[in-house]
């Protein structure tokens, strides 16, 4: 037991170190530096053109003129003090920038995970119950074809259709700018209104995976002996399906949902860009464009850590759900 725990912590430390190293060196391998942004840049932001003298001043101000390995050691030392550094672009601590944008991302990621999981389980159950019938075949073919559309393209289609053409939803942002709310309900409504399309895009992109997993697991589960036992007990089809079949089929679905949260934290960049949604994905994009090293490092670290946390949570939840793996 103790050995297991030790080796677990050891592996975690190694993983974190590798992530940190990649996070640190990857931005620096990219061409350019934070202070040589040129007007050709397509970010559309205000372009600051500096003289060579100014550039060197700022480089030494942020410590970027030192040898790379020294910078890395400083970075690690600061990290131990929970200091992620200062964003060059925002001129404020990286942690503050992340805290400003992370909640938006978390909201759409969690929201879409819940929606896609619930919808996928319902559709998957329907399909499994009607296995080999027309409705199942049609649904499966449709779902698989649908899954081939990349999420950013799907986002673009939704944006063009519902925001540009029908003008039902906003084009950008997470809240109406400069809005005054008469109460929290109105504020919540505004937030949901803006989040609707990004959440839908992410949900739809996830849906097929959950659907197929639920359907196929259910089909496997319904051939198990305990389903026959439940039928023999005369419990009725509804109980057999929910309490016995679905309860067992949900184990891998829950696992998948947990992993997907982590993976989506990184994958959300494209969807946030399409909807100009101010989450960490968008922030990461502008940080990359501006070569904002500390911010890039900070966001990548947050994403990596959230994936690790999600994996850990999945392990914990799974052992709660399935008594066979409980220690």
């Amino acid at each position: 037991m103790k050995n297991d725990r030790n080796s677990f912590v050891f592996r975690l430390v190694i993983t974190l170190f590798v992530i940190l190293a990649i996070n640190f060196f990857l931005p620096r391998i990219m061409p350019g530096d934070p202070f040589s942004t040129t007007s050709e840049d397509d970010s559309g932001d205000e372009v600051i053109i500096m003289t060579e003298e100014q550039r060197l001043y700022y480089m030494s101000y942020y410590g970027l003129d030192k040898p790379v390995h020294e910078q890395f050691l400083v970075y690690l030392k600061n990290l131990l003090k929970a200091d992620l550094g200062r964003s060059i672009y925002y001129k404020m601590p990286v942690s503050d920038v992340i805290m400003l944008h992370l909640p938006w991302t978390m909201m759409i990621v969690f929201g879409s995970t819940v929606i896609s999981t619930v919808a996928g389980v319902i559709l998957g159950t329907f399909s499994a119950k009607n296995r080999k019938k027309g409705s199942d075949r049609l649904m499966m073919a449709g779902m698989i074809a649908f899954a081939e559309i990349p999420s950013f393209l799907l986002g673009l289609i939704l944006l063009l259709a519902f925001s540009v053409h029908f003008r039902l939803f906003p084009l950008a942002g997470a809240i109406t700018p400069f809005a005054h709310y008469s109460g929290p309900v109105e504020q919540l409504w505004d937030i949901l209104y803006h989040a609707f399309l990004p959440v839908m895009t992410l949900s739809l992109a996830q849906l097929t995976g959950v659907y197929l997993l639920t359907r196929n697991t259910l089909i496997t589960v319904t051939t198990k002996d305990y389903i026959r036992t439940a039928r023999a007990k005369g419990l009725g089809e509804k109980t057999v399906w929910t309490r016995h079949a679905l309860r067992n089929a949900l184990l891998p679905v829950v696992t998948r949902a947990g992993f997907m949260i982590g993976i989506m934290m990184g994958g959300v960049v494209l969807v946030e860009s399409v909807f100009s949604y101010p989450g960490i994905g968008m922030t990461l994009r502008s940080a990359v464009v501006g070569r904002d090293y500390p911010l890039i490092q900070g966001i990548l670290l947050v994403i990596a850590v959230s994936i690790l946390i999600c994996n850990l949570l999945v392990d914990k939840i799974y052992s709660k759900l399935d008594p066979r793996v409980a220690i």
Partner: protein, 568 residues
């Protein structure tokens, strides 16, 4: 009135490739309070029959026939209607498997679940009833809160049993309840079932391939083979004198009944193919006729509450001998009665051992049965024909004898090939080429080389073991229905005789001929014989199943014979 009645039930699994007739025209009844056993090998359709009673067969099963429970035809009910009968009237104890119980539910909850559904009972009452049930099946109620994987196989089987008893069913179906358990647990479960039956008078349908287990609990037994019933009857009668060749094969391959005998399964596999119209046991039967290949025999009552499905009316007699006696004239003019008023019957496919000390008349009897010498009185009939009318030793499918001493029974001056095909030559069977081929085939049967070098060797050049095998091949070349082996191993050393014995029994098992094995060696006899007949002073003093005769001899002489074994 019977509690459950099954009438001409057919369950055919329809896959995309073919149709599997798992149950094919089965009828039986279970009386209230009775324990009925269904036995048969795996694949015989026992479990399918049980599942069809519960209405649990998969959707791709075509079911015809009628299952009547009390006055309700339950075979035609919908799922929802069937749920009214499930568990409350008919419950099933499944074969113990790791996934028979839901792996993510506590076992207590799984036992309580049907009570809440079918009985008018509160959750607290159900829980206390569950604890009582656990005590009934000798399981500590503290295990109620554990998960299936935390229990041992025996404990899980008890939980499954407690679960089946939870709604006090009228009919309890037990499907292979002990097959996965060790002998100790098996005994405990058996005792528990008997105890429950005595206390509560459950009607039980017990399905198992374990004929000893079934016969220790059930009162009647149904023997199934390839989806059909081949024999039914009171369990003790069936066990002691099986009438169908399959039942006999099943009993003979049960080590619990034949403790000392070597294990020899029933050779061959179930006759398959949906186009096959004959008897399902055809391909493995030792007494088939052409009729067996054409029509399926019906189950016919044969008296004593027994029914049997066999065109030949069950295991047929092969050779009958009555009132045989034979005397040798001694030099002093006295007569020595070697065989004295012997009656004997050999059934198709069985191995009968005749044991007795030297001079008890065994060999003389063997020679009479083989038609080598004529009896003074009495007669022998083979397959219903009197031996005086036709010599059954000189034709194919007759009687052949292998003698004690291979050095005298095969001529030194004969080559191997001549020795083996001699009976064919004498009786003018087949062309010369066919005779050589038959001889070569027989050499292969007895595990001797059949190349030209070996064929042209003289018998005098061979070792004792080889010569005895040549003698055996010479008998086999006539494809006998009955082989008489007269002390065939007594002239051989231990290892060679063991090889010859295994060869002999293997041939018998595979080819299905009957065998009379004559020996004074009890230990050897026990390894191969189905029945034993003990001779002393020319008379048969005791005859019965080999294990009965050896384990509990009734005659004084047999007791002495058994007692005279030298133990190490």
């Amino acid at each position: 009135m019977s509690l459950l009645k099954i009438n001409d039930l057919k369950c055919h699994y329809q896959t995309e490739i073919n149709t599997v007739k798992a149950v094919d025209g089965v009828s039986f009844e279970i009386e209230e309070g009775e324990i009925l056993g269904i036995v048969g090998e795996s694949g015989s359709g026992k479990t399918t029959a049980a599942l069809s009673i519960m209405g649990l067969l998969p959707e791709n099963t075509a079911i015809t026939g009628e299952i009547t429970y009390k006055d309700n035809v339950i075979s035609s009910l919908s799922e929802a209607e069937m749920d009214r009968f499930r568990w409350k009237d008919i419950a099933i104890v499944f074969q113990n498997g790791i996934e028979v119980l839901n792996p993510v539910m506590r076992v207590g909850v799984q036992v309580i679940e049907p009570m809440l559904k079918h009985l008018d009972i509160s959750p607290d009452e159900a829980r206390s009833k569950c604890a009582d049930l656990f005590t009934t099946v000798h399981l500590d109620p503290k295990w109620m809160d554990s998960y299936p994987h935390q229990l041992s196989g025996g404990m899980r089987q008890r939980v499954i049993l407690a679960m089946a008893l939870s709604c006090d069913p009228k009919l309890l179906i037990l499907d292979e309840v002990t097959s996965a358990l060790d002998a100790f647990t098996r005994k405990e479960i058996r005792d528990l079932l008997v105890e429950l039956q005595e206390k509560n008078g459950y009607t039980m349908l017990m399905i198992s391939h374990d004929i000893t287990f079934v016969s220790s609990v059930a009162s009647r037994v149904v023997v199934m083979y390839s989806g059909k019933v081949v024999e039914t009857g009171p369990v003790k009668d069936v066990l002691i004198s099986p009438r169908h060749p399959y039942t006999r094969g099943l009993i003979h391959s049960t080590p619990d009944i034949f403790v000392y005998k070597d294990l020899w399964g029933i050779p061959g596999d179930i006759s398959a193919g949906s186009g096959f119209k004959g008897c399902p046991f055809f391909s493995r039967c030792t007494q088939k006729t052409s009729k067996c290949n054409e029509t399926t025999p019906a189950l016919i009552p044969v008296g004593g509450g027994r029914e049997i499905a066999c065109h030949r009316g069950g295991i047929a007699g092969l050779l009958q001998a009555s009132d045989l006696s034979y005397s040798y004239r001694l030099p002093d003019g006295q007569y020595l009665k070697a065989v004295d008023d012997v009656d004997l019957e050999i059934m198709e496919g069985e191995v009968l051992a005749i044991v007795g000390q030297t001079g008890s008349g065994k060999s003389t009897l063997a020679h009479i049965l083989a038609n080598v010498i004529q009896p003074a009185t009495g007669n022998v009939s083979f397959m219903g024909e009197n031996t005086n009318a036709e010599n059954y030793g000189s034709r194919l499918n007759g009687v052949q004898i292998v003698f004690q001493d291979p050095f005298n029974s095969t001529s030194n001056r004969f080559t191997v090939i001549d020795a083996i095909k001699e009976p064919l030559d004498i009786n003018k069977i087949g062309s010369e080429e066919e005779r050589v081929q038959m001889a070569k085939d027989c050499l292969e049967l007895v595990h001797l080389p059949n190349n030209d070098i070996f064929l042209s060797k003289y018998c005098g050049e061979l070792s004792g073991g080889q010569r005895q095998r040549v003698a055996l091949a010479r008998a086999m070349v006539m494809q006998p229905k009955l082989l008489i082996a007269d002390e065939v191993t007594s002239a051989l050393d231990v290892s060679t005789s063991a090889n010859v014995m295994r060869l002999l029994k293997g041939l018998q098992n595979r080819r299905g001929f009957a065998m009379i094995y004559i020996s004074h060696d009890l230990s050897m006899t026990l390894k191969i014989a189905d029945r034993i007949c003990v001779m002393n002073h020319g008379r048969i003093v005791e005859m019965g199943n080999s294990h009965d005769v050896m384990l509990s001899p009734s005659h004084e002489y047999t007791k002495r014979l058994v007692g005279s074994k030298i133990s190490v």
